[in-house]
């Protein structure tokens, strides 16, 4: 390795890393330090490595990642706020051989779209759901999200989230893990290289699951929003570790498959 010259480094056989072909050249509109770009990259790499560009349909939400279709070179549907799991259901049911994934933030998935989220998972739709939980509404300027921490200051909780006024942060991922339709439910982060690698494995597993017809695969990524939190990127990672991880612990919540496929479909109730 010591003999490696500059002209050798750029040779294709010596390159150990590069930009996924699925990622377009469009500059991302995300703020510095935002987790979206990293998660986009991981999804792009998984699609490329699995060779499923022609067979993958993304459903983008309303929120910061509404224009995710600028960045991944696949066919896209763009949903109304919260409705991505319904779009994905409609697409997947009528095109069962496709890989269909939704990409949603906490407001989209766990507030306005809670019904669509729960029912899609409860039906065991064979889709992938990527859930970016940064405990805040980024796009509209940092308002309270369903996952905002108790005491967290946001534009609509300027004195901190107060449980008497605002209720509790919603652990939607724990809730979904209870549903028999869920095959794989995991919580990841992308704030360190090790976590990025783990998160990619989780996304890959989720995509592989969706071809096996074993139920819904759900990947939460606990994320930072330094603009919304008004904390710089490095401090944001620390804030997330200290405040969010104790409440939203990383790891798999469910790793299996629907054990009862076909069982209820023919089961007759006793009269």
């Amino acid at each position: 390795m010591a003999d490696l010259q500059l002209q050798d480094i750029v040779k294709p056989e010596n390159q150990v890393y590069g930009k996924s072909k699925i990622l377009t050249d469009t500059p991302m509109h995300y703020c510095y330090g935002c987790s979206h770009g990293v998660v986009h990259k991981l999804i792009a790499e998984v699609i490329e490595e699995m060779g499923i560009q022609e067979d993958t349909i993304g459903v983008s939400p309303v929120g910061c990642s509404v224009m995710m279709y600028y960045y991944l070179d696949i066919d896209w549907l763009q949903a109304a706020h919260g409705r991505a799991p319904a779009l994905a259901t409609g697409y997947k049911r009528t095109n069962p051989k496709k890989y269909v994934f939704t990409y949603q933030g906490d407001g989209d998935l766990a507030a306005i779209g809670t019904a669509e989220t729960i029912h899609a998972v409860n039906r065991g739709e064979n889709i992938v759901m990527i859930f970016i939980n940064n405990a805040i509404y980024g796009m509209t300027g940092g308002q309270m999200a369903p996952t905002t921490m108790v005491g967290q200051v946001t534009a609509t909780t300027p004195y901190g989230r107060d449980i008497d006024r605002n209720g509790y942060p919603l652990k939607i991922t724990e809730l979904l893990a209870q549903l028999p339709g869920a095959a794989y439910v995991t919580r990841q982060s992308v704030h360190t290289p090790a976590n990025v690698r783990k998160c990619k494995k989780a996304i890959r597993k989720a995509f592989e699951n969706s071809a096996k017809n074993i139920g819904t695969s759900f990947v939460e990524v606990v994320s930072t929003c330094n603009s919304g939190w008004k904390i710089d990127p490095v401090e944001s990672n620390k804030w997330m570790e200290e405040n969010m991880f104790p409440f939203y612990p990383l790891g798999d919540l469910k790793n299996g498959e629907r054990s009862d496929v076909g069982e209820y479909s023919v089961q007759k109730l006793k009269k």
Partner: protein
């Protein structure tokens, strides 16, 4: 067969790929019939009971994005819930067939028949400048015929279409001649027919397709709005449908659609027997509205009576078409009450023929 059952059967027979719906009176027989028929075994058509009308219309959005024929049905309060999704469908230029078997409102209203959703159906219903193609069946036969026609028009214009029925047409039983079976489109046919827009997975030979209604640049959005408007003008040129009954020598014309047209036809018979020259103009497409033909008659007749089961909604479009040339009156019952032909006869006499 019942009107609602015919909608289900016609969908299977015209090669519909999927139905997504949520139960609501008076149209629940649509999904019930589909579930009993099990078309997934026969044609591969998907039938799914959604968790809400909001989900149903968005499942339609997802499925129709792949270039397939998708149907949903509901009744008035459910259509209000779908309004958001319908606006998005129009904004993303996606086809789809929505059936509204109207009941009385506002709010939960009544489960009895009504025609009070005319404004909602013909003026868009959701936010933004858009229209649906709106077909108004007046018989169970037309419940059959308009499913195929609705899909044809929806795909011709890449715009959602609506069958605007009412509780009477949905619930009543009549003889019907069903269509022959047409197979569902194959993947190859979809590529051939809808390959220029359907998101069937990004191919190497084309750019990626994005089914969205979002545009951040005002000038581009305005261009898109103009494109939609051009589409609506084309509908007005090419796809206005109506029926004329006894209009040739008419001195008075009743304008009525759906069940109101059925009872107005009876009223025309009664008035003709009395020697009064009355005709019936029945709009079949409520959007595009038969403005031109009404305008032509406006200079020949002494007056129009719009008969609707509402406080007077279509009458506004009749007045716009007549443009002050002659008298335009409205007669209607509300709240699920169905007018009798005799009441229509009396309305013609008192509102049009009176001094």
């Amino acid at each position: 067969m019942k009107g609602n059952e015919v909608i289900a059967e016609a969908a299977i027979r015209c090669g519909c790929d999927a139905y997504f719906g949520y139960p609501i009176t008076p149209q629940s027989e649509v999904m019930e019939t589909l579930m009993i028929r099990r078309p997934w075994e026969e044609t591969g058509m998907v039938v799914l009971q959604a968790e809400s009308e909001v989900a149903s219309i968005n499942m339609m959005y997802g499925a129709t994005s792949s270039g397939k024929k998708i149907m949903t049905s509901s009744s008035s309060p459910g259509i209000s819930l779908m309004a958001e999704g319908i606006s998005y469908l129009a904004g993303a230029e996606l086809p789809g067939l929505i059936v509204n078997v109207q009941r009385g409102g506002p709010g939960l209203g009544t489960i009895q028949p009504s025609q009070a959703d005319y404004f909602q159906a013909t003026k868009g219903g959701g936010h933004g400048d858009y229209h649906l193609i709106v077909l108004a069946p007046a018989s169970v036969q037309e419940m059959n015929d308009f499913v195929g026609l609705g899909f044809d028009l929806a795909f011709k214009y890449r715009n959602p279409a609506m069958i605007l029925a009412d509780g009477v047409i949905g619930q009543m039983m009549e003889k019907v001649e069903l269509n022959d079976f047409k197979p569902r489109w194959t993947e190859e046919q979809i590529e051939e027919l809808n390959g220029s827009w359907a998101a069937t997975g990004k191919k190497t030979h084309r750019e990626r397709y994005i089914k969205t209604s979002l545009e951040m640049v005002s000038e581009k959005q305005e261009k898109f709005n103009q494109k939609l408007q051009a589409k609506y003008r084309q509908m007005e040129e090419e796809d206005v449908r109506y029926e004329l009954i006894n209009c040739d020598d008419a001195e008075y014309i009743i304008v009525a659609y759906g069940v109101s047209a059925r009872l107005s036809q009876k009223a025309v018979d009664v008035l003709r027997k009395q020697g009064i020259k009355v005709g019936l103009l029945r709009p079949i497409t409520l959007f595009p509205f038969p403005t031109k033909i009404i305008s032509e008659f406006a200079s020949k007749v002494k007056g129009f009576l719009s008969v609707e089961m509402s406080s007077g909604q279509m009458v506004q479009d009749v007045r716009l078409a007549v443009n002050g040339k002659t008298k335009v009156e409205h007669f209607g019952r509300m709240g699920g009450v169905i007018a009798t032909p005799i009441e229509v006869v009396e309305a013609v006499q008192s509102k049009l023929m009176g001094e």
